[in-house]
Amino acid sequence: MSAAPIDTGRILRDLDELWVNLGKDEHGGAGSDGVLRACSMTLVVCTEGHDAELGETLALLMRDHPSRLIVVNLSESAAALTASVTAECWMPFGRKQQICCERIAIEIPEHAIGDAPSVARGLIAPDLPVAVWCRSRRLLHHPEFRTVVRLANKLIVDSSDIEDLAGRIATLRAFRDADTRVADLAWTRLTRWREAIAAIFDDPDYLAHLDAMDRVVLEYQGPHRPMSTCYLPAWLAHCLGRRFETRWYRAGDSPRPRLFRVALHGTSLDVAIKVEADRSVQMHTGTRDSHCVFPALGEYDLMREELAIGGEDPVFEAVLNLAPEFA
């Protein structure tokens, strides 16, 4: 069964009309310099159900990465495929010109998922990169979703809450091909941890003892091991070019699984980083302890970092290859 068809040509005409009207409205105002249409990529967001925070996240993202935004929402309440166009506008501080991005919202009923790829294909901004952010587990595993991903240069998912680590890694590896890169916000969340570890070994005194590292201990909180406890040792193994003993411990409760502490041990090496729930960080290196704060990162911060990487992320590619060993 198919839902009522959407005419992509009609949506594009609606977009053109939207810009004409925006231009008229703004030029009419006193002291206004009109609107600037900004688009550096197409961002397809696949989601399901109503999420008020997502709208805010996307509005912020548009300022960093102006895009043609296509939000595909899998909706239980929708009877037919529907589409609407709006503009996401903001006025930079001190400027008289509004910057606007276009947003196409598509509601898809469950039975019409198969129609989504053809609709999305017709709406992609020509000759610009395409990123697909899949926030829906059901869509990720839907057979038709692969067709949507084929349109993309980059597929972004978030595996932070996934329990089946090995299964998710296999899924991500299966999506990866010559044209599509895969990104995982669970990996993006590790950037501060990895930077902190790297900073410790900027000190030649610690670097000299790195060869002695033979054991990694990862402590986590929450109902099950988070994906970060798989990615982090895979990264260490990739960087060192060798294996080491890896142990995992559950170190308390948390509503969502989270990495709590990482320790690198060896005969002459004793390094540990612990991040409390309030993001305060305790770094232990030998006999010294120091403190700092990891900024709290929401989806906006994580997506902002991911969308800034247009090309290859060779470190994550390598980590994804090694990750099954630590799942």
């Binding site: 600037l36 900004a38 550096s40 300022r63 960093d64 990465h65 102006p66 930079p92 910057i99 950037t191 990895r194 930077e195 570890i197 790297a198 900073a199 070994f201 900027d202 000190d203 030649p204 670097l207 790195l210 990739h238 960087c239 060192l240 070019g241 120091s290 970092e305 800034a308 990487i309 290859e312 992320d313 060779p314 470190v315 390598a318």
Partner: protein, 517 residues
């Protein structure tokens, strides 16, 4: 990229795609710690780097100047400077407290060996308590006349050598002419090797100047059109709407040619005209810049008088306010012969650029504040529309103009002809515009943030080298000599205009005209 192919002794945990570039532990010594540059630029830039966690743990600053101050009094002064001059960085009390804990002050006279002994003692203490590894960057933020004593003092005290690396940043002007530039260089080399000398030209640290390299060498489209076959002329404009405002004493001696063209604008010209480097690293990029500057054709005797134009602004009224002329400034002689405007056509003697004029102009009290580079392309060899009167007569027949805007409204625009909507074939120029700030929502770092981080990290790509300095002085010396021997009939342009009429006439003689930025 495989981490384990790293050089022995290097940190294997690097991830250049994601990690911010980190600086090894070090300390910074600022000579001229109470000066305008320190307050307006250096400390706000360093605070911003601290705010973004770009500085290493234990990073320390030792400020030195003559005025007796306690550490705390100096910290208070610098806090006020950050609050006043940081344009887009809020003062966070916690971050300031951490930053200020590494901020020290040593009063002293640069001629007095005791000053260096005090700095040495402070650096020893910092090294022990903040683990800076003996790495020190010295920053000469003083008047140029103090460069020599500071360098000699560092050498005599042994501060130029230490357990870690020692580098020195020198602010422009690098001399007032070729011989004084060479003398300064000789003094610098008494204490520091060339690779440890960082001659700062803050224009090279501007994001949009760096973007010229990305635009030229990152795209396949433009570089093939970047040569004498297609380009008619290149205009580089650096206009200021303000006058000398407090810098009259310095400016009276320097003038626009020395203050702007010899350094900033010739560096921009080199960036626009240099050949592609094999790799983007300091030596290759600087080699290409230097090669270009050495290729600038030098004026023959007598040419400067007819080719280059000097100007000086007179009094004017603007918006109901009376604007003082240059000679009316309280720090300026009423008979000053100083150029507050300079326009010079330069030519580059190489195959790619032969015959293409680079018109460079700069001035104070011009119509508006703008710095840009405009590449004017040749006309189409034949226009089927011209004979039929289809092109817009007012807007001219030279449509193709590529403008690289350095400031403000940083970006790039391309002008071309388009059919005007409606029946018939009427053409009008339109502009395709890229705005740096709109396309990248992230904040662009200030030039001093970039350059300080580069110097702390040992990256000299955006710093000038002595051979570049000398080539620049060579290019302007014939003009300086000519202007030094003439008595100009100044003032010759009104404040708020685009400069003297002679400047327009100079281009008109070549069949060109200045564009209006």
């Amino acid at each position: 990229m495989l981490c384990w192919f790293q050089m022995p002794g290097s940190n294997p945990f690097q991830d250049p795609v994601r990690f911010q570039r980190r600086v090894r532990p070090c300390a910074l010594v600022i000579f001229g710690a109470n000066g305008d540059l320190t307050k307006r630029k250096l400390i706000p830039a360093l605070y911003r780097l601290a705010y973004e966690r770009r500085l290493p743990t234990g990073f320390a600053i030792v400020g030195t100047s003559r005025t007796p101050l306690t550490h705390d009094a100096y910290r208070d002064q610098m806090k006020e400077a950050v609050q006043r001059f940081s344009e887009d960085t809020p003062l966070d009390e916690n971050i300031w407290r951490d930053f200020a804990s590494g901020l020290f002050y040593e009063a002293g006279d640069l001629q007095d060996p005791a000053c260096y002994a005090a700095i040495a003692a402070r650096l020893d203490e910092i090294e022990a308590t903040r683990q800076t590894g003996g790495n020190v960057l010295f920053y000469l933020s003083t008047q140029p006349s103090h460069y020599g004593p500071a360098i000699r003092g560092l050498a005599a005290s042994g501060l130029h050598r230490g357990k870690g690396w020692r580098r020195i940043v020198v602010e422009k002007p690098f001399g007032v002419d070729l011989s004084s530039a060479r003398a300064l260089d000789a003094e610098l080399h008494l204490a520091f090797a060339e690779e440890d000398v960082y001659r700062i030209d803050h224009y090279l640290g501007k994001e949009t100047v760096q973007n010229i390299l990305a635009f030229r060498f990152g795209n396949g489209l433009f570089e093939p059109l970047w040569n004498r076959r297609y380009i008619r002329n290149i205009q580089i404009t650096a206009a200021e709407s303000i006058g000398v405002e407090g810098r009259g004493r310095y400016y009276q001696e320097a003038g626009a040619l020395r203050d702007m063209i010899q350094n900033h604008l010739l560096q921009i010209m080199a960036t626009v005209a240099m050949e592609p480097p094999a790799v983007f690293e300091a030596r290759s990029v600087r080699d290409e810049r230097a090669k270009l500057l050495r290729s600038i054709r030098l004026f023959k005797p007598g040419e400067a008088a007819t080719h280059a134009v000097a100007g000086q602004y007179g009094p004017a009224k603007s918006g109901g306010a009376k604007l003082l002329g240059f000679r009316e400034d309280e720090c300026v002689s009423p008979h000053a012969n100083t150029d507050t405007y300079a326009a010079v056509p330069f030519f580059v003697d190489n195959w790619r650029r032969a015959g293409v004029p680079f018109y460079i102009r700069t001035g104070k009290r011009l119509a508006k504040r703008v710095t840009d580079v405009a590449i004017q392309y040749n006309d189409a060899p034949h226009s089927p529309f011209e004979a039929a009167g289809m092109e817009d007569a007012v807007l001219g027949a030279r449509p193709n103009l590529l403008v690289l805007r350095v400031q403000p409204e940083e970006g790039i625009s391309l002008r071309f002809l388009s059919k005007q909507p409606g029946s018939g074939m009427k053409l009008r120029p339109v502009s395709m515009d890229f705005k740096y700030g709109s396309s990248f929502g992230v904040r662009s770092p200030a030039a001093y943030e970039t350059l300080l981080l580069d110097a702390l990290g040992g990256d000299a790509t955006l710093y000038t080298r002595q051979d570049m300095v000398e080539a620049s002085w060579n290019a302007v010396t014939p003009i300086l000599e000519d202007w030094g021997n003439r008595n100009f009939d100044f003032p010759n342009y009104d404040a708020g205009s685009w400069g003297p009429a002679e400047s327009d006439a100079m281009l008109a003689r070549r069949g060109d005209s200045w564009r209006t930025p």
